[in-house]
């Protein structure tokens, strides 16, 4: 069924506005993260190691605020577009500064999905 045909032209929108300056220039134009990183994934900062160079610039800012936060929360805290925060965070993950807590992925088994849905339902029912 083609419900979408009823909609108006693709450039008409309620909530878009001209972009501010802080776009993907921060990532030198890169929009694809080096590791898969869902918006809800929680980050944990690793114990600093002498083997890793400390990040500088925007990446250092991200490292400072990201512990126990999700990708979306990091973006909101630093007023960065989601995609930009994700590219920077994925760099930190790839370089070993940060680890990622588990989320559902496209490879999750039916058992894993069922388990997560049941945990969610239980949590909602008692919340």
């Amino acid at each position: 069924m083609e419900r979408e045909a009823h909609l108006s032209g693709k450039h008409v929108g309620d909530s878009s506005a001209p972009s501010a300056v802080r776009g993907f220039t921060i990532t030198r134009g890169r929009t694809v993260p080096r590791v898969e990183l869902p918006f809800e994934a929680t980050l944990l900062v690793s114990i600093p190691s002498g083997h890793r160079a400390e990040p500088t610039g925007p990446a250092a800012q991200v490292l400072e605020v990201c512990d126990r936060k999700s990708v979306a929360e990091v973006a909101a805290a630093l007023h960065l577009p989601l995609g930009v925060a994700r590219v920077l965070l994925a760099d930190l993950v790839a370089e070993g500064h940060v680890t990622v807590q588990r989320t559902l992925t496209r490879n999750s088994s039916i058992d894993e999905r069922r388990d997560l849905l049941q945990r969610t339902l239980q949590g909602l029912l008692v919340s």
Partner: protein, 195 residues
């Protein structure tokens, strides 16, 4: 490897997508159930953004942003549920692929005064196979349609749950979250395991 998930206990966070037209009450719903004030973030929208990996190669591209509000509910010690409210227009579909990956499901919020704004999200979730329910947000002065009439107007299959909610009310908003989670479980149970 450092980039491997570190928690062997199962996912530590998950999400539900709240979709619908402008002003339908997405942020209100998120705010009613979230333990934090809804946070606002932005995604960049570029014209013809599909398939573009490196926008430094296309410097003339016109870029706009779209606001997305989200909230958080801690469910026990080891699970956080995020709620992402997202605009419904088709030009944001590029963002929904990211938004929906790993999501429990979606709640499509409908204003009976503007049913057509639900068409695009409904098409998307049907196409992607993400479980979704339809929630009619009750506006005090809005016409009181019968659910069956709305289902017909939306060309909604009979198995898709429809509920009425008051997005301002925490318990009412929570029923929408519970219903989509239950429905997602039902959908999973109807799948035949392969291999």
């Amino acid at each position: 490897m450092d980039s491997e998930p570190s928690n062997k206990q199962g996912p530590a966070s998950t999400k539900i997508v709240i979709a619908g037209g402008f002003g339908v009450g997405k942020t209100t719903l998120v705010g009613s159930v979230s333990e934090i004030d809804p946070l606002r973030t932005e995604a960049l929208v570029t014209d013809e953004s599909e398939g573009i990996d490196d926008i430094s190669q296309v410097p003339t591209k016109h870029t706009t942003t779209v606001a997305m509000d989200f909230g958080r509910i801690t469910l026990g010690e080891d699970l956080i549920l995020y709620l992402f409210g997202t605009p419904g227009q088709k030009r944001f579909w590029f963002m929904w692929d990211d938004l929906c990956l790993g999501a429990i499901g979606a709640i499509v919020m409908v204003d009976t005064n503007r049913l057509d704004e639900a068409f695009s999200p409904l098409d998307y979730f049907e196409e992607k196979g993400l479980p979704f329910i339809v929630a009619l947000n009750q506006f005090d002065n809005g016409p009181q349609f019968e659910l069956d009439a709305v289902r017909e107007a939306l060309a909604l299959p009979s198995h898709v749950p429809m509920i009425r909610i008051d997005a301002r009310d925490r318990e009412s908003a929570k029923t929408a979250l519970i219903r989509i989670t239950e429905y997602s479980l039902e959908q999973l149970a109807s799948q035949v395991p392969v291999g």
